[in-house]
């Protein structure tokens, strides 16, 4: 077996463990008559093939030194212990009570020496230590419910999350804030929209596009916006709170079933699609300005119910020029329970797939049609392909985002029914504002031209 020692392998691992130095200790490296002294840093394992020792010099710089037969490495001194930061004070009772559930992701992350990139690592306590001003907004209890990358989340994680939030709602919190990685955040927000019925208070998802370990992080402002929304916005829906623009000024609060991550890296990556954000929150003044529609108002006396089962045998298939019918056949043969198609334009996919789709529906596998245009509504009556798809039994999902249709179908199949006619009814019933029947001219972005 290969010896791995704080990310070092091979000869270096043997050498370092042999002399008993650990990351944080001062080491002395003598090479070609030159002396380098510094703090030993762990090695990023993805690059461990080179015999390179990483030390932090007195001036704070890290450097890599190649260690060969003639290089001497020795322990200079053991590390000194770092001071712990004081615990935050107990909060006062009169404020709103909210719960902060963390799932991992960029809002709570720091360097990972395994890969050299950022990973979820800061504990929720560290979040509160680091952003004491959150206690001005609400009394909160922070808890880590899972620690996974956003992209590793599965439907069973939605179930766990929904259970946690439901329990908190029964306990009477004024709102739940969920710190979540941004990549798949809109899926989870949609899942919780469906999984808890008759919500008395809001669920606010929040993330960050710049990790919390950097001075320019957007996480504190986003968290403040989420806290303000959770504790006092007059709404009881599943929401996403993130930067409204590239500036550190307003936080936009979007409906969880009508929002999408539209940029890989910008702070204002989240944009409402076929809908407007519901609130703009000023995190400095705590002002909550309503700019969109509230569908379910806050009512702490309302009793929530939990319907949190999701079917993981649902697939999302994209229409592309060379798409082959085997994809649909394979899904049916493999026992999938539902298929969502991200169709082209008004909701199309190649005529070559018609027979396979017909066979899927006949085998009891519902096929839902959405559009990869994202903006606008599907309409299968305009072109003949669409009409044939309708004849084959495809369910046209209005202006639902493909991801939301996927989450909803997964929820309907596990929590409601597998009966295909019933599935069609549930899919076309607007439960959480996932369908907007009315698109005004302003619901479409315009680029800036000069």
């Amino acid at each position: 077996m290969v010896l791995v020692y704080h990310g070092y392998t091979g000869r270096l691992a043997a050498l370092l463990s042999g002399i008993g130095v650990e990351p944080g200790d001062r080491v002395r490296v003598v090479k070609d008559g030159e002396v380098f002294e510094g703090v030993l840093m762990p090695r990023y394992t993805v690059r461990a093939s080179e015999d390179i020792l990483v030390i932090k010099l007195e001036n704070g710089y890290n450097i890599g030194i190649k260690v060969d037969e003639r290089t001497q490495v020795s322990l200079a001194s053991k590390k000194s212990r770092l001071e712990r930061v004081a615990e935050p004070e107990e909060a006062v009772e009169s404020k709103a009570k909210i719960v902060l559930l963390s799932t991992g992701g960029t809002i709570a992350s720091k360097i990972d020496y395994e890969t050299g990139a950022v990973v979820p690592a800061l504990s929720t306590r560290e979040i509160t230590e680091w952003a004491p001003d959150l206690t001005d907004i609400a009394v909160f209890e922070a808890r880590e419910v899972m620690r996974v990358f956003s992209e590793d989340i599965t439907p069973s994680d939605w179930e766990r999350l929904a259970n946690e939030v439901y329990r908190e709602m029964k306990r009477g919190v004024n709102g739940a804030v969920i710190a979540h990685g941004t990549d798949m955040m809109s899926y989870s927000a949609a899942a919780l929209a469906f999984a808890i019925r008759d919500k008395p208070v809001p669920i606010v998802f929040v993330g960050s596009q710049r990790s919390s370990d950097r001075p320019s992080s957007d996480s504190i402002l986003n968290l403040k916006g989420a806290f303000i929304t959770a504790s006092r916005a007059p709404i009881a829906e599943s929401l996403i709170a993130m930067h409204a623009s590239t500036s550190d000024d307003l936080i936009a609060v979007h409906r969880g079933v009508k929002v999408r991550k539209m940029h890989t890296s910008r702070r204002d990556a989240f944009q409402s699609i076929n809908d407007k954000p519901i609130f703009l929150v000023n995190p400095y003044t705590s002002e909550v300005k309503q700019v969109g529609k509230i569908l379910k108002t806050r009512d702490p006396t309302r009793t929530p119910s939990l319907e949190a089962r999701f079917d993981d045998k649902v697939a999302l298939v994209k229409a592309y020029p060379g798409v082959q019918n085997e994809i649909i056949d394979m899904l049916v043969d493999k026992g999938f329970h539902g298929i969502v198609i991200e169709g082209s334009g008004l909701g199309h996919i190649s005529n070559r797939l018609l027979d396979s789709i017909k066979r899927a529906v006949e085998s009891g596998v519902p096929v839902v049609m959405t559009s990869q245009c994202l903006f606008g509504r599907v309409n299968l009556n305009v072109y003949s392909t669409g009409r044939r798809l309708l004849e084959a039994g495809v369910i046209p999902a209005e202006d639902m985002l493909p991801e939301v249709a996927y989450v909803k179908l997964s929820w309907v199949l596990a929590s409601k029914t597998r009966d295909i006619a019933e599935v069609r009814k549930w899919m076309l019933t607007n439960l959480e504002g996932e369908i907007n029947y009315r698109h005004t001219l302003d619901l479409y972005p315009r680029w800036l031209y000069e």
Binding site: E34, V39, Y61, D112, G116, R210, T246, D248, S265, R266
Partner: protein, 643 residues
Amino acid sequence: MSRAVQGLDYEKLGLRVGLEIHVQLDTREKLFCSCPTKLVEEDSVDVFYRELRPSRSEMGEVDQAAVLEWKKGRRFKYDSPRSASCLVEADEEPPHQMNREALEVALAVALSLNMRIVDEVYVMRKIVIDGSNVSGFQRTSLIAMNGWLEDEDGRVRIQTLCLEEDAARKMGESEYEVEYKLDRLGIPLVEIATAPDIHSPEQARRVAFKIGQLVRLTGRAKRGLGSIRQDVNISITGGGKVEIKGIQHLYMIPRVIEYETLRQLRLLEIREELRRRGVVKESLRAVFVDLTDLFRNTQSKLIKRLLTEKNAVVYGLKLAEFKGLLGLELQPGRRFGTELADYARVWAGVGGLIHSDELPGYGITVEEVNEVYRRLGANPERDAFVLVVDERSKALRALEIVLERVKVALDGVPEETRAANPDGTTRYMRPRPGGARMYPETDIPPILITGDLIESAKRLVPEPFEAKLERFVRDHGLSRELATSVINDIRLDLYERLVEKWRGKVPPVLIASTIANTLRMLENEGVRVENIEDEHIEKVIDLVAAGKLVKDAIPDVLREVSKEPERDVEEVVRELGLSRISESDVLDLVDKIVKENLEKLKSRRDKAFNIVMSEAMKVLRGRVEGSLVADIVKRRLRELDIM
């Protein structure tokens, strides 16, 4: 200009100076994105606002300088010009791979400074939260260590060479907001730090120049205002290590070092005096006395204004046994009291303070001064006091800071970062930042320095000084003196380019002397040579090459250009009447002169040549080479048998 500081024996004082030289690289793209490395003047279209807060280093520490900046609580306004910045500068997209061209230049400079190159480069985030970096950190990487540079006064060790990104340009600031432009952010910089091996102000200037010149010799350095910035670290025996930032010009380095030496010396004298007076830290008590009622009806306009403008109070602090010391001058025009005011301004945000050594003054009467002494329980013969007029919390904070700084006077010179003023004096800026502000840049994997990279870098290693000198003497026909001057000139790259451009058409000696001698001559005349750009010089040489300008006229043209640098050089030449005259015109003129003076010339044959030449040159000077005129005059006179 008279020297303010004379007779300092730097050797005896144990002066130790280290330099940090930053040179902008003239690469095609920025260090971590594909934007061009240029400054632009375009209208603000994309503007956004941000705030920053300090973060913990990977060692769990927080940098004190960063905390100080955060406490100012200012927000930042960014102007993001589309032609010279993108999402990376706006901190809206992760950095791209490190620019290989910049890395090669850095390696080439490291090689020519005899440095040890690291085997693997780690890009670090250096926390800087004054807003000059949108991300809140400057990306920097240590490329090489432990080199040296030869100098007349002995070898100067080079400690580190780093490759880093330049910061954004500050366009304005107020108490609440700082405005930056993002074009400069991300331009690659090499930062070269010497060991404190420099022992005189003049040597510091010379070494700074040599380092800058070395980078320029790679042909990939930017020139012009702000392209090279130098920080100096200064200490004397018994003093403290003080870092001075923002020295705009090379020629200011000696002055800054002189003044800092003086400041440290005076601070040590103050320490000695305090010891003589028997002052100990415990005798400096934190008793802050509210004196607002005393100044309710003051005649002092300053205090009156402050009291009415804001919700201000007057607080006083007694400094036992400090009489006379606050008024002591540390640097020209800057007293120990000024030093205390700097601390109060930086840490507490107050406008300033008033101390007893400048009173009575500011309209404060002797009676009021005596009353302050009485209320503070102070002895007017021996003690000093400090007054601050501001909002209560700020005033108290200011006096706390003043007291801290005064206690440090008993230890001597505090280690700190100072900013250079235009006159060479300095002001307190912040505490010296430590290694705590370093954090690995997690978005960029470490870069292995391969043999390939080193080979490409070797092609950029500049020719050593001696080799260049020999080549200029041998191939260009320059004298050793001229060759040395041109190699030491900031426009060396222009010289090499023009020699290459006009090979065989314009003699290198002319180009070299224009750059090295003519400009210096004009500068001594008081001409504003900083207005003369490379393009002007190049145009002048082009005109000479094209036969449209005579070399004798170059100083006149450049003198005129310096007055109106916007104007086209050719137009200036025309207007000055310095356009070259054709040979046939010269012939006609000579004929005319000979004809008009024929009798006189015949009678004074031995002087004939001089007479004609002198008359001709009155008209032709600067418009045609004298040698050509002489040839024509001789020929004509011989034909007429007058010579």
